[in-house]
Amino acid sequence: TSNEPAATQQASASAAAPAAKEGNDAPGEKVVIGFSAPAADHGWIAAISKNAADAAKQYTDVEFKPVEPTNDINQQISAVESLIQAKVNVLVILPNDGQQLNQVARQAMDAGIPVVNVDRIFPDKLSYRAWIGGDNYGMGVAAGHHIGKTLKDKGVSNPVILEIQGIATLPLTQDRSKGFADALKTYGFTVAAQQDAKFTVESGTQVATNLLQAHKKIDAIWNHDDDQGIGVLAAIKEAGRNEFLMVGGAGSANAMRDIQADSGVLKATVTYPPTMAASAIKIARLIAQGKGMSDLLEQQVPQSITLASETITKDNAAQYLPLGFES
């Protein structure tokens, strides 16, 4: 949250960035990086845009060219087209929908502009030079294991497990749900009810309010997204319920602080770090300059990088907190 005392408001991207100007970070030829992402209407996406901009600022050889973020696919296509016309050296794109933006990404590649795809993946490998993103299926698996194991240890049989998704129509949501269900299956558990909350706080409150009415006794809830999670937690508090445990998703600083304090139902969150945007800028710069990654032996940047989804609990929250993004 932006209104936390200034002390805790740390730049997540810069914390992870090496300060030294050597190796990969040594200045090279000047590159123009075009950047397009969905409209920043919640913390995670806001962190994406901010991390990208911050990362770009670290390099004197990078000119950062962001275009209007939008949630309309038609407009994002135009935005990317305009970047192609502006002849940027490399593009970093987090598409609203990978499939729908595929064609214009392909156009860019065909026009000789390498594309770094972030998060929501293009179906066609010819449409991007490199992809970096979180492991959505893995996130679901991590949440499923945490819940499954905790309940198993408690000896609960036939538990009531609820799932609050983000935007239902995103493939990444469906991947997360699949991972979650698959992991639960290994414990012999299933999801009792599933609703989507559009990644917004308010929708989180509303959906949770109704879900709590629908289930008088709950054992666990997995909420895909910590931004909407604030609303989910508010609804739980309003209803005065605490008989279950909740696991979050994405890994906001706020959620981590709650977990650390261990004062409510939120016991864990599984990460999906928005630092990927900063990494994507770095990768884009290297690709444009024709460099490899100095820590690897390869001459070129890898084609695909999947970030692991880690499970944050009370025990390791302190360690991850600096990487958490503010809701």
Partner: protein, 336 residues
């Protein structure tokens, strides 16, 4: 818009909800359809989820869910009866919630936060009113512009983050968590706004003139009513309601956010119209609008109680809206 309606009817004319002497009563014929629809939904709830639906805590939940948008619906009813429309309500609520939860505002404590939310809402509503009444902009466009700019400003103030209500100001959150006679305080706020709105609309000259301004602005002008000033006040009133709603949403979600109130404008307008108010102005009741809103809220509640997925929810919601309106029509037809 609804004139097609009347023109197309060969039979005796149906009257939409209007403000006569006995108007605004719950038991009135024009509301029977809505009440019938609600009863039908309740029966569905009782049959499908007997153990969940009729519990007092579920009913409290429904009222709590309805309260934020309910307060906005009251303001919207005035605006629409007055011949206008307000697309900015959701954005104004978001803006007010953000403004009231900045670090700076929060440092003054909860009372100032509440005052801030209400003032921001009213101020923005006044601006709407000025553009419409004095700038003579079409309400749809003026409030659309306000909706767009209001969200932008909210995003800018909040830096696109969600702003938590701090521990020190938890008095605001207690509106949602503290219960009196089993009901959270915010439900009382909602009820009070409805009551005051009803009194204002039905028992004061301001309210009655609102019908004139919406129904026949030229006649209103000739009767010596300052149509512009009145219009201005209607939008300010709607903004005021957005400010109050902002306080309620802050209480419920413990946050201020630029994403609050997304698409509230559509829901509020739909509730007002389902409640029998004409988009062309001059007719309508607050009770009808609130009944319309409750129908929407109960529908969602039922869906989630029954575990319907979004897609099916949407399809069913569309069908139910149509059914509710046709039901209402039928109940109006018989007694004519």
């Amino acid at each position: 818009m609804t004139e097609v309606d009347q023109a197309a009817s060969a039979g005796p004319r149906l009257k939409a909800a209007g403000p006569g002497g006995r108007f605004g009563r719950l038991g009135e014929v024009r509301h029977l359809g809505l009440v019938a629809a609600l009863v039908l939904l309740a029966i569905v709830g009782l049959v499908t989820k007997p153990e969940n639906f009729a519990t007092s805590s579920n009913l409290v939940s429904i009222l709590a869910l309805a309260s934020t948008i309910g307060v906005i619906t009251v303001g919207m009813t005035f605006v629409i009866i007055g011949g206008g429309i307000d697309l900015s309500v959701g954005a104004l609520m978001a803006l007010a919630s953000v403004w009231a939860t900045t670090l700076a505002t929060q440092s003054y404590g909860p009372v100032v936060m509440i005052v801030c939310a209400v003032l921001v809402g009213t101020g923005a509503g006044l601006l709407n009113g000025i553009l419409i009444a004095y700038g003579r902009m079409v309400p749809f466009i003026a409030t659309l512009a306000m909706m767009v700019a209001g969200r932008g400003l909210a995003q800018r103030m909040s830096n696109q983050r969600t702003q938590l209500v701090q521990q020190d100001n938890s008095m605001i959150v207690s509106l949602s968590t503290t219960r009196v006679l089993g009901l959270p305080l915010l439900v009382y706020v909602f009820a009070l706004v409805v009551l005051l709105g009803w009194l204002l609309l039905n028992r004061t000259t301001f309210g009655r003139r609102t019908y004139a301004v919406g129904g026949n602005p030229e006649a209103a002008r000739l009767a010596g009513i300052d149509v512009r000033k009145h219009t201005l006040m209607l939008y300010a009133l709607s903004g005021l309601c957005c400010g109050i709603a902002a306080v309620l949403i802050m209480a419920r979600t413990t946050t201020g956010s630029s994403t609050h109130g997304d698409l509230y404008e559509l829901d509020a307008i739909a509730a007002v119209i389902i409640g029998g108010t004409l988009l062309s102005g001059g007719r309508g009741t607050i009770i009808g609008a609130i009944l319309g809103l409750l129908i929407f809220t109960v529908i969602t509640n039922l869906f989630i109680l029954n575990g319907l997925n979004t897609a099916d929810q949407l399809i069913a919601k569309g069908a139910i809206i149509v059914a509710a309106v046709l039901l209402q029509r039928r109940s109006l037809k018989t007694p004519t």
